[in-house]
């Protein structure tokens, strides 16, 4: 009977059950290791709770909390963040109900000493349950450095701010505002992309045609045959930042209030300038960053000549042949 039952089970299994796919042991191993790390991080998080994250600084309706180890760079990061925020967004915040941006590194569970993850948390008051939350995993180098931490916070803040703008603007921008870069790095990257554009309209924009600039930046259509493509989206972000800079502290608020209007009007409102003036300012700002005509200043040339004389004097001194 038992043999009969065994044969029946075998037949049933072979006819009903699907063949089991061969598993790659390496994939299993990686998966288990990853799960282990996640569980470890969760266990650490539960064990330490919020006790390792303390309030470091509070200013202008924003609170910064950080792990004790990175408290001091965290406070400096908030100062820099506030400075940049004032420049681009003025007093505006993503939501009246508050918001929270959490940066967290991954900790270290390698063979050496275990290092728990560090957190940096920027919250906009009121600290309610309705608040918008953003979580971003970053490296230890980023979270422990005031400059990189503040630029990462600003980048995430910029993404939150964009959610309150019109769909037209977001569709036009496509990418988040390039606030993770320093002003100089962003402008230089924008300048190279601007000047080396190959399309006919791109070349004419560099040469000074604002109509072509409006086309290659996706602000106006063109009827011109063979106009070529537009500039990369990155330049649109740079143009918006130029408009915000030109418009001063209230620029973002004006941009938000103009969200029902056309894209060009939104930019005009934000900048407080007619579109062509904004484009002209943006264009001349980028062209001004081109390398100077003189790779050597008069002072440098003089220093080089002095070195030449000193080397000659040295040659006169050390050539004492016997």
């Amino acid at each position: 009977m038992s043999r009969l039952r065994a044969i029946a089970v075998l037949l049933l299994a072979s006819s009903v059950g699907r063949p089991v796919l061969a598993q790659d042991s390496l994939v299993w191993r990686d998966s288990v290791a990853k799960l282990g790390r996640v569980m470890q991080a969760l266990a650490d998080s539960l064990r330490t709770g919020d006790s390792t994250v303390v309030e470091v600084s509070r200013s202008q309706g924003l609170v910064l909390r950080a792990s004790r180890e990175i408290g001091s760079p965290g406070a400096r990061a908030l100062e820099r963040f506030l400075e940049s925020k004032r420049l681009w967004f003025g007093p505006a915040v993503p939501s009246e109900e508050g918001f929270r941006i959490l940066l967290r590194d991954y900790g270290d569970y390698g063979s050496g000493a275990v290092r728990l993850p560090q957190s940096l948390e920027l919250a906009g008051l009121p600290d309610s349950d309705e608040m918008t939350r953003v979580f971003r995993g970053v490296s230890r180098r980023v979270i422990g450095n005031p400059d990189s931490a503040s630029s990462t916070l600003l980048f995430e803040f910029g993404k939150l701010m964009l959610t309150s703008t019109s769909g037209t603007l977001r569709k036009w921008l496509r990418d988040p505002l390039p606030l993770h870069l320093s002003d100089q790095d962003r402008k230089l990257a924008a300048m190279y992309a601007f000047v080396t554009g190959a399309g006919a309209s791109q070349r004419d924009c560099v040469a000074g045609s604002l109509t072509d600039c409006a086309y290659v930046l996706g602000l106006r259509p063109t009827a011109r045959a063979g106009a070529g493509g537009g500039y990369p989206e990155f330049l649109r972000g740079d143009l918006l930042l130029t408009a915000l800079q030109a418009g001063g502290e209230g620029a973002w608020e004006r941009l938000r209030l103009a969200s029902v209007r056309t894209l060009s009007e939104q930019l005009t409102e934000a900048a407080g300038l007619p579109l062509d003036s904004l484009l002209a300012r943006w264009r001349s700002g980028l062209l001004a960053l081109r390398p100077t005509d003189q790779p050597l200043t008069a002072r440098q040339a003089l220093a080089t000549a002095l070195w030449g004389i000193m080397l000659l004097a040295a040659a006169l001194g050390i050539s004492r042949w016997a």
């Binding site: 081109r290 050597l296 040339a301 080089t304 050539s319």
Partner: protein, 216 residues
């Protein structure tokens, strides 16, 4: 009068070298500009290529300075400076004459580079916004040549004893560097020294910076 004679002697000894270096200086800008140019469509790639070509300018200056300084002193070194010591002129004047004659021989190389940059840039149909720097790059090259020639000239003119001292000093510096590196791994004396030499107002500062004949 004596300078003229010195120039003639050095020209006779090194004219092959000067002609080769001048041809190289003439060809470098032309080749750098012409080889990668496929119209305005690939400007970013083209400028990146030119940036790499730019490394050859200080390289050429280095080769020219060392080769000429060595050529200037070659006959003296061969004859153990006996000719110089027999001349009825003070040693400092003799060295100065050698130096000035060497500088004169650098002129054809700098002029060839200037001509090359002009040839390379005037025949090119560049899009608006792109600029050319033939004069600036020639000035930078000439100053680099001047300083590097000064260095090479000083080394080549040195007596055997002075060179021995210099080598010993260099060995001592390397030993100190290794010692410091073992005691404090973060401290790199060689990197520090190189940094001082190649940043303004360091003597080798003209070697650094941009070497772009065509740029945005």
């Amino acid at each position: 009068m004596m300078l003229k004679a010195m120039i003639r002697i050095q020209w006779k000894a090194a004219w092959h070298l000067i002609v080769v270096l001048a041809v190289a200086a003439l060809a470098l800008p032309v080749a750098s500009v012409r080889l990668g140019w496929k119209g305005a469509a690939n400007l970013p790639f083209y400028l990146t290529q030119l940036q790499l070509w730019g490394l050859f300018y200080p390289g050429l200056a280095c080769v020219a300075a060392i080769a000429l300084a060595a050529a200037v002193w070659a006959s003296d070194r061969r004859g153990h400076h006996i000719y110089a010591l027999l001349l009825p002129v003070p040693r400092w004047r003799y060295v100065l004459l050698r130096y000035l004659a060497g500088l004169v021989l650098l002129i054809p190389i700098a002029l060839a580079l200037w001509l090359g940059t002009l040839l390379a840039t005037t025949t090119l149909d560049l899009p608006p916004g792109i600029r050319v720097f033939p004069h600036a790059i020639t000035l930078k090259f000439t100053l680099t040549l001047l300083v590097l020639f000064g260095f090479a000239f000083a080394v080549a003119s040195a007596s055997g004893r002075t060179l021995g001292y210099a080598l010993r000093g260099l060995g001592l510096f390397l030993a100190i560097h290794l010692g410091v590196l073992m005691l404090r791994p973060g401290t790199n004396l060689i990197a520090g020294l190189v940094g001082i030499l190649i940043t303004w107002p360091g003597p080798l500062a003209p070697l650094g910076g941009r070497w772009m004949l065509i740029d945005v």
